[in-house]
């Protein structure tokens, strides 16, 4: 039975090298688009765009939107929309800002600077996001109000709940440990970056190889060994290359010289200290892995995509689509709070306008990343790439000195163009 099924497709696949590698052409397209954007700006800025410093900044600027975009994928896949993410982020950071500076200190003997403060703050912040998200999901799923309306209302409500909680003040400075999640002040340093990078590379290689073994065990067709090895090699190089770039960005000499002993140097001269991987980027990678596992390997993910593909079929198959909606919006709420941690930690303050227009950036990231508004289609890695492409455009144009109005005009046009390309791609390759 199985040798029959294997024998037929093989001759057809021989022709095409891409097919042999079994690469995701959409992922390649996205990487290609990103590289084009990078190269164009690099030439335009006389090589300032692709410096370790700028790549470092680009990654930490992308994190907050990218974290939320992974959740937006699930919302859009189930044919909903969430316009409230920026406002929800603001409410969460307001709660977290107030918790660590006003509400917690003095309670239960906790003082400002206590090591408990950041963790209690983040825990309650995530809970706030989950509860607000679940409530919006309940209105959509159980009360049947369109998500567009619920979250449009939410956009006004949560932006101003945040304002009310803080009386419109900027809240800060934030806790020292909490601020580490923002990026520049919280990095792993060179050694740990390499350790984690190598561990990730080994894990990725092992994962790809064991997936192949599983396929062989079930007698499914597998790609040739050389193709498998090539894919593994590229993956490993990409991971290590990324670490190398982040490690190449070093602290300014004067900063190190001021306190060289703290960086483990005997003297100020020749003491080079690399930033390495920011904690916020680690957080994003963790979120991306968890969300990808949910999307592809769990029942929850399967039900999300089934509901997006055919809501009637899903409920006739015994899936509780209403509860599913609540879970999805609660997940987005948690991710907004997490995005809020990164965004406010990066600023060092909670400000009244934090996350303004983030809803549009997040939706655009998901959509540029190939999430179809008609439902049922979308990937987590796509949304993250979408966020990265948007941020590259924005940063690149700022570096070049493009006038502010032109920047937004370009970003808007790119959004529409990207979706058009995606639609054409789907038409050519057959409905997917």
């Amino acid at each position: 039975m199985s040798d029959q099924t294997q024998s037929t497709p093989t001759p057809a696949t021989k022709r095409n090298i891409f097919k042999q590698l079994e690469l995701d052409t959409r992922l390649l397209g996205m990487i290609g688009a990103f590289l084009v954007v990078c190269l164009v700006f690099n030439v335009w800025t006389d090589g300032r765009f692709l410096t370790p410093r700028n790549i470092f900044n680009l990654t930490i600027q992308t994190v907050s939107v990218a974290i939320m975009a992974t959740g937006m994928v699930f919302v859009i896949v189930t044919r909903h929309i969430d316009l409230s993410v920026g406002a929800l982020l603001a409410t969460c950071t307001a709660v977290m800002g107030m918790l660590q500076t006003r509400w917690l200190p003095g309670m239960l003997g906790i003082e400002i600077g206590s090591p408990l403060i950041p963790w209690i703050t983040i825990g309650l912040g995530l809970l706030t996001g989950a509860l607000i998200g679940a409530m919006q999901g309940w209105l959509v799923g159980y009360r049947g109000i369109p998500a567009f309306i619920v979250t449009l209302g939410g956009l006004l409500v949560w932006r101003n709940v945040g304002w009310y909680l803080t009386s419109g003040q900027t809240i800060g400075p934030l806790d020292e440990t909490y601020v580490l999640f923002g990026g520049i002040t919280g990095t792993l340093g060179a050694d740990w970056s390499w350790i984690i990078g190598i561990a990730a590379a080994v894990a990725a290689a092992a994962g790809l190889w064991s997936a192949r073994r599983t396929k062989i065990r079930h007698e499914f067709p597998v790609k040739p060994v050389w193709a498998e090895v090539a894919v593994i090699a590229v993956t490993v190089l990409a991971i290590l290359g990324f670490v190398a770039v982040l490690n190449a960005y070093e602290l300014p000499e004067r900063v190190v010289a001021r306190d060289f002993a703290a960086y483990g140097c005997a003297q100020a001269e020749g003491c080079n200290v690399a930033y390495g991987i920011p904690y916020s980027v680690l957080l994003l990678i963790f979120v991306a892995i968890v969300m990808t596992v949910i999307a592809t390997r769990t029942r929850l993910g399967r039900y999300i995509f089934a509901t997006g593909g055919n809501p009637d079929a899903a409920s006739l198959s015994g899936i509780n689509t209403r509860l599913l909606t609540v879970k999805i919006f609660a997940m987005v709420g948690v991710l907004c709070a997490l995005g809020g941690v990164v965004a406010s930690a990066r600023l060092g303050y909670h400000t009244n306008d934090i996350g303004t227009l983030d809803e549009l950036r997040v939706i655009a990231a998901a959509v540029i990343g190939g999430t179809a508004l008609s439902g049922g289609i979308g990937t987590i890695y796509g949304a993250i790439f979408g966020a990265l492409i948007m941020q590259s455009l924005q940063s690149g144009m700022a570096m070049v000195g493009v006038d502010a109005p032109y920047q937004n005009i370009v970003v808007g046009a790119v959004l529409v163009f990207a979706v058009w390309v995606d639609i054409e791609y789907r038409k050519r390759t057959g409905a997917k």
Binding site: M1, S2, T5, T8, P9, T214, K215, R217, H218, E219, F220, V293, R297, T298, R299, G301, R302, Y303, F305, A306, T307, G308, G309, N310, D312, A313, A314, S315, L316, S317, G318, I319, G376, I377, G430, A431, K432
Partner: protein, 249 residues
């Protein structure tokens, strides 16, 4: 006589002021095919959706194997070995055949993750039995032909060892060859002792496949007859006039 597999007793359901199904009783024996006929909107689909758990009856009882059961949801129906093949197929177009076959009842690994490889292997096995030409296991089902999609829906019922099968116009979207395939399958499943409710507009097909036919009009049963006892004309007049010529005679 043997215990009926299904007894639907005095079922009624109304949507707003419209009585879609009114005081309908119907039974089904093992190894029997019962056809439901009637105009669009006669209440056939609504009636079987009550049995499959998609709707909740306002009044009436459902008995399975001589025991009263309470069917609140599609899950309850499945727990009672009732499987449904819907007119609209009820497949998620964006997922592949295996994901659709196991939708709502995924095979999982010991860690609780969906076991895609095992699902695919099981799908290969059952498809080799039902439709040996079926090869597109990796494609989303939107890329399949009507017959292939139908075989995914049927495979779902067969794989989970349904005892009661509901087929709502299973051949509506199919070509001649594929219709024949479904008809053969119905005969085969009947031999294995399944009870099948079949809904169709094709009177001739119904005369061939069914043991008994029930005709519905305006939410009520006009009559239930053994196919040997009636002609196609009798059935047509029941559908159109809403009167049972045999009862009148």
């Amino acid at each position: 006589m043997t215990t009926p597999l299904v007894q639907m007793k005095n079922i009624s359901i109304a949507f707003g002021g419209v009585h879609a199904v009114e005081d309908v009783s119907l039974d089904l024996y093992p190894g029997e095919v019962v056809g439901l006929l009637g105009h669009n909107g006669a209440g056939k689909s609504t009636l079987i959706k009550i049995l499959s758990g998609a709707y909740k009856a306002d009044a009436g009882e459902i008995w399975i194997n001589g025991k009263k059961v309470d069917i609140q949801s599609p899950r309850d129906a499945r727990a009672n070995s009732i499987e449904t093949i819907y007119q609209t197929l009820a497949l998620a177009d964006n997922l592949d055949a295996a994901s659709n076959l196991f939708l709502g009842r995924e095979l999982t690994t010991p860690f609780g993750f969906v076991d895609d490889s095992r699902q695919e292997a099981e799908t290969r096995k059952i498809m080799a039995r039902l439709n040996p030409n079926f090869k597109k296991l990796k494609e989303p089902v939107s890329a399949l032909s009507g017959g292939q999609r139908q075989s995914v829906a049927i495979a779902r019922a067969v794989y989970f060892k349904a005892r009661i099968l509901i087929m709502d116009e299973p051949t509506a979207a199919l070509g001649v060859h594929e219709t024949k395939m479904v008809a053969d399958l119905i005969t085969e499943l009947k031999k294995q002792g399944l009870g099948i409710f079949l809904i169709s507009h094709d009177t001739r097909e119904m005369m061939e496949l069914c043991d008994r036919v029930s005709v519905m009009k305006n939410g009520q049963i006009v009559g239930t007859e053994r196919v040997e006892d009636v002609t196609e004309d009798d059935i047509l007049s029941m559908i159109i006039l809403g009167k049972n010529p045999k009862a009148a005679a």
